[in-house]
Symmetry: C2
Subunit: 116 residues, 2 copies
Amino acid sequence: MTDFRDDRAIYLQMADRICDDILYGKYTAGERVPSVRELSVMLGVNANTVVRTYDALTSDGIIQTRRGLGYFVTDDARDRILSVRRKRFMEEILPEVARQARLLGISADEILEHLK
Amino acid sequence: MTDFRDDRAIYLQMADRICDDILYGKYTAGERVPSVRELSVMLGVNANTVVRTYDALTSDGIIQTRRGLGYFVTDDARDRILSVRRKRFMEEILPEVARQARLLGISADEILEHLK
DNA sequence: TCTACTGTACTATATAAGTAGTACACCGCA
DNA sequence: TGCGGTGTACTACTTATATAGTACAGTAGA
């Protein structure tokens, strides 16, 4: 049960990591992701929690299941992730960062300093 | 029960808002914050949830209680909040934003564009 | 003193999240 | 065919959140 935040559901954090890995190129289209039991051991998490993660990713069209074989990355997984992530980044994360910076008296230049 | 995210405990989101209000200057040092029952009605939340929020803020030294009177903003509340927020902003939020931007192919200039 | 507010402390219920374990059906391969 | 790995579907238990309601003690002011 290593390095998971306690302020967010583990199965959602795991889903984000899988998506990160797909963006990084660790898992490519058509490729198989670790099995439920494999990943549960790898991350020290219960198998049912992995199932919840894969269920979520499946309903988002990121992966698809082949009974008896495993879960596989869909062809448009990368595009779907990029689309959702970009939208959230622009419409939620950046505005919140701007608000926090204003509240904390941190200048845009100071922020730019730390973005490299 | 208006505008609370479902990915984080309500009592923690409420605590963040109280801190925001203190930074904004809505509540100043020595000033009284809304009573448990008042705030529960204002936000459409159960009174026990407000108690949890105020318990958390109390143990963080942001507010202090006077039985029969209410909860009051401590003298160093603002400093405490700024300290914690700045640390988290610099060490957690900004690095995560940088990572996301790199992953999504968003340039620093493009980010700076949205920070105003 | 009385009243109306305050914090405080309970009990009870419901749901989500996570863990633990078992069982069964499907698939590829030897 | 049999075996091992796979997804799938359960039950059971625990904890954290959140709600609902009640009760009691401290405080200020009429």
